[in-house]
Symmetry: C2
Subunit: 259 residues, 2 copies
Amino acid sequence: MKSKVLKVVKIGGKLIENEAKFTEFLKDFVALEGPKILVHGGGNLATEIAGKLGYKTQMFEGRRITDADSIKVITMVYGGLINKNIVAKLQALENNAVGLCGADGLSIVSEKRPVKEVDFGFVGDVKKVNANFIDSILEQNITPVFSAISCTEEGVLLNTNGDSVAAEITQAMSSIYETELYFCFEKKGVLADAQNDDSVIEEIDREKYEELLAEKIISDGMLPKLHNCFQALEHGVKQIFLGDFKLLKKESVYTKISN
Amino acid sequence: MKSKVLKVVKIGGKLIENEAKFTEFLKDFVALEGPKILVHGGGNLATEIAGKLGYKTQMFEGRRITDADSIKVITMVYGGLINKNIVAKLQALENNAVGLCGADGLSIVSEKRPVKEVDFGFVGDVKKVNANFIDSILEQNITPVFSAISCTEEGVLLNTNGDSVAAEITQAMSSIYETELYFCFEKKGVLADAQNDDSVIEEIDREKYEELLAEKIISDGMLPKLHNCFQALEHGVKQIFLGDFKLLKKESVYTKISN
């Protein structure tokens, strides 16, 4: 049995943009014991800056197309501004950290999403995570902080879903550590009623998951998140927790997912 | 005697903006044998993007003031866009690399420049380089790529002179390696006549340097560069080379500086 527990925490973009909540979250993150990794989303800042730069955001059926201009802005805002500011804030809290994207040490290798009905542009799906490189940082007592940008083997930067990046990193690290994955987002957990923020389902195992799916209780936005979770559990991740910015305290209500 | 030679290469912002020259430079950089580090400037892209975002560039006697908006843009453009694209390009050339700023692993700790006549804002002077952290990357056969952003111990990101960053890193690494420092910029080397690009002085030692200073031969822009060089030599750096984007080939003319 692996003796060390590694915690991988994904923080959503909307929480990062709320300074008070994000500051509280970071203090809780720093207080976590043992090795840990932070994966962050980007929120609306990239869209805002793209607009100011005069770049048009192209959408297809509500989904963003990452064209050449968009991936530039994402690299600037997620890979630069947000990532390095989080690292600096962690340093201020005396938590040594390193800001990375998937190109660094080829830590997150992806493939460009195949063009079917529409070309979503510079968007990638994770193919391989370089666990040894990430572990070389953890072993120095340094926290890796990842923006959700991956890189093809040919050196093309790709916009990548932050939840998937967090799940894939956690899966890969499961070869070395006993792993736990935390998703901090706007809700207190998985809701039984999308309209009622207090309807958190506190425990979900595979049986319950199938049940929720059959009853069509899980809302659209939550479907890919839960799908990611059960995939991660199948690939060695021990436990997954979903909750709001106070999740890491584990004082209030949250959702725990396990097999 | 230290057996391994480490090469630290600084590439100027103007060269990065010239795609043909930069591509040729990168191929030569990849071809360098042994451990190496790349430090890059930013060129005019940050100013261009700041302008588009509606940020005003404040100047004092021809020197830029790095206000809160400017350090944001610098972190986006130098720390994100340029840095991660260089890393991706190196990966494409099968040279494993990691993009860093001074906040990462507290690799380049600086102090905010004291306010005298004028407050230059978020500008720092290097105080300490974390050679062990940088070496932990080199030992994995990975090339660190640094943007010229440093960080105070209190976690404040600061704009920092790229030449100084390169010199300070090289000095610090001299405790572990025999070090060489390369400055690639727009000129072929140190010029005896600033108006004549072919008047390269091929070798400069301390005696020659004092002579050049006394005769006021060195042009204004070159003074801090040479000052940096001789400081670095005093602090353990073995040899320093100055030249254009073809410098690493060592085929055409360049300036070699040693004690």
